[in-house]
């Protein structure tokens, strides 16, 4: 032992970490939308868990609804990531370019990304319309509701990706 108590070090470091005040989270509308969807989803999955173990028979609608909520959450959450520019990309090759060319590479990537999201919005509109009279499996609600939710996420994604791309083009 070198004099200093290692346990005290851990207590000290943990206290220092806890003392840092929690900064207010940077929350946009899609963040709150996802926040609500997620906690509703937690409730639904928890209900299923409880009914399976206590009543020995899970409520049939919980599994289906949970799946749909996750589908919508995937796209609203992707809008969150698009706003922060945190979607995973392979940037090694772009970073190898000289600064001038890199700027155009970023612009090209952003334009293609926004175009892809935009096309997905359009395709989602088509799917939602096609699903108008198709009911869900257990619950008697048209499946199009899920696709309208996804479309909302996609529209937000497109807008956020465009804003992110514009900001990056200006910065460079």
């Amino acid at each position: 032992m070198d004099g200093k108590d290692a346990e005290a070090t851990f207590v000290e470091l943990a206290a220092a970490e806890a003392a840092v005040p929690e900064a207010p989270a940077d929350m946009a509308p899609e963040d709150w939308l996802s926040f609500i969807l997620f906690w509703v989803l937690s409730g639904v999955v928890f209900l299923q868990f409880v009914t399976r173990y206590i009543l020995n028979d899970s409520l049939a609608w919980t599994e289906e609804i949970a799946g749909y909520l996750l589908m919508v959450l995937c796209f609203t959450g992707s809008a969150m990531a698009a706003r922060r520019g945190s979607h995973i990309a392979v940037e090694v090759f772009v970073l190898m370019l000289p600064a001038g060319a890199r700027r155009y590479a970023y612009m090209l990537a952003d334009v293609l990304t926004v175009a892809f999201y935009g096309i997905l919005c359009f395709l989602c509109f088509q799917v939602a319309q096609a699903m108008q009279f198709q009911p869900m499996i257990v619950v008697d609600v048209p499946l199009s509701v899920v696709y309208w939710g996804i479309m909302a996420g996609l529209v937000l994604m497109t807008l956020r990706a465009a804003a992110f791309g514009l900001a990056r083009a200006r910065r460079a």
Binding site: K4, L13, C74, G77, A81, V90, A109, Q126, Y147
Partner: protein, 425 residues
């Protein structure tokens, strides 16, 4: 026509669009050019790809891990680990590994482990006179245990993509994960002996009992999760939701460390990570489907088997290939893209899908410690204040014990498959 799918994908990927956009965009271009399917199939497949019960586990595993990290329990776990192994030579090095093993039982990603624990692990070791590169390298290496020991996000993705039981994959990870910890501890003992590191605590049963009691409630999370899932009592999704609510209970009722702001932040971070992963899975499900219908994967298998039919040689080639891919591609992206391509090959040489899952995930975890794209390296550089190059050099020696583990996992299938066959007969 098939070439178009791959050329478009690689082209988009290299331009630097998000991986999900490269996968989905290439699929869209292929569907358009081929003209056999309506383009809306791309979106429909993407959305349907996310609608799976096992994928529901992902947000809850991420959530429970970050909740446990922010609920002020880190110090309790470390004090317990210190009482357990701190009396060994190079004590805090061993504590680093044991702490990571315990947290591995609560969290599912290496990146979360390196980010959440790296700070306290590295600072404590530095305070007690360990060389900074040793602390940084060890923290990086021990963070790769996280996704091997259940719960594990990469394993969930592998299970969904390969249509393999996630429960079995989880059970298969337990023994290799503990083996990795043991190998790393041997490495720490070896370095400590050579460099003359000291012991950092005296062994005492009283301290062990006291710290053990303080760490008891948090320790129940890994016990419940790992125990419940490997025995098949809980499905991974149920275990994940139970762990999330247990962590919420600890944070709000027992320790009262979780604030509303903290909850909002943790939820937002969880959802961002979840969505990034799920969007890749969504796009990979249309891409993978198109790849399978083109039968190109069978051609890949035939092509490799023309070089050699020896299973050990094929496994060696696949390992080398995965290590190279792991240098450039992020874990989840690599799994979603490569599972449909490599699975037929593995089945052709008679490798169990569960065994292959372990091989693949371990390879990609090692990739997190190698440049140019090493997520863990970036995090450790930020946490420790070392430069990226210095972090890289610090992690390099620890690749030796990790490669030893990779060799064992690859060529000793009965070690990997013993527990899952016991539990899921």
């Amino acid at each position: 026509m098939t070439a178009l799918l791959f050329v478009a994908f690689l082209g988009l990927l290299c331009i630097g669009v998000p991986v999900a956009v490269a996968l989905g965009g290439a699929s869209l271009i292929y569907v358009w050019a081929e003209g056999m399917l309506p383009p809306l199939v791309v979106l429909h497949r993407m959305a349907a790809g996310v609608d799976s019960f096992p994928l529901l586990a992902i947000p809850f595993f991420i959530m429970s891990g970050s909740l446990m990290n922010s609920a002020g329990i880190t110090e309790r776990i470390y004090s317990f680990a210190l009482a357990l192994v701190g009396w060994l030579r190079g004590g805090l090095g061993h504590v680093n590994v044991v702490g990571s093993v315990i947290f591995a039982g609560m969290s599912g990603t290496a990146v979360a482990d390196a980010g959440g624990l790296g700070n306290i692990e590295i600072k404590a070791m530095k305070d007690h006179g360990y060389p900074l590169p040793f602390a940084v390298g060890l923290t990086g290496a021990s963070s790769t245990i996280g996704p091997i020991i259940p719960p594990s996000l990469p394993m969930v993705i592998f299970g969904v993509m390969a249509n393999t039981s996630i429960g079995q994959l989880f059970a298969a990870g337990l023994i290799p994960g503990l083996l990795m910890a043991l190998t790393l501890m041997c490495w720490v003992a070896f370095v400590s002996h050579r460099q003359g590191f000291k012991r950092d605590a005296a062994f005492s049963v009283a301290t062990l009992g006291r710290t053990g009691k303080r760490a008891f409630l948090p320790m129940m999370t890994p016990v419940l999760l790992v125990g419940g899932m490997t025995t098949g009592a809980f499905t991974p999704t149920e275990a994940a939701i139970a762990a999330t609510f247990y962590a919420l209970f600890l944070g709000t009722v027992v320790y009262r460390t979780l604030t509303w702001r903290g909850l909002v932040r943790v939820t937002a971070e969880t959802l961002e990570t979840t969505a990034i992963v799920l969007l890749i899975v969504a796009a990979a499900s249309i891409f993978g489907w198109l790849v399978t219908t083109t039968r190109v994967t069978e051609q890949v298998a035939t092509w490799v088997l023309a070089i050699t039919r020896e299973p050990w040689a094929v496994l060696l080639l696949v390992n080398i290939f995965l290590l190279i891919v792991g240098c450039f591609l992020e874990t989840i992206a690599a799994i979603t893209i490569l599972v449909p391509v490599l699975m037929p090959l593995m089945l052709a040489i008679g490798v169990d899908p569960v065994h292959f899952g372990l091989i693949m995930v371990l390879n990609l975890m090692i990739g997190l410690l190698t440049p140019p794209v090493g997520m863990v390296l970036y995090i450790l550089a930020r946490v420790s204040g070392l430069s990226f190059e210095a972090t890289m050099r610090a992690c390099a020696p620890f690749l030796i014990p990790l490669f030893i583990c990779l060799g064992l996992v690859t060529y000793w299938p009965s070690m990997v498959l013993w527990l899952p066959t016991m539990m899921y007969r």
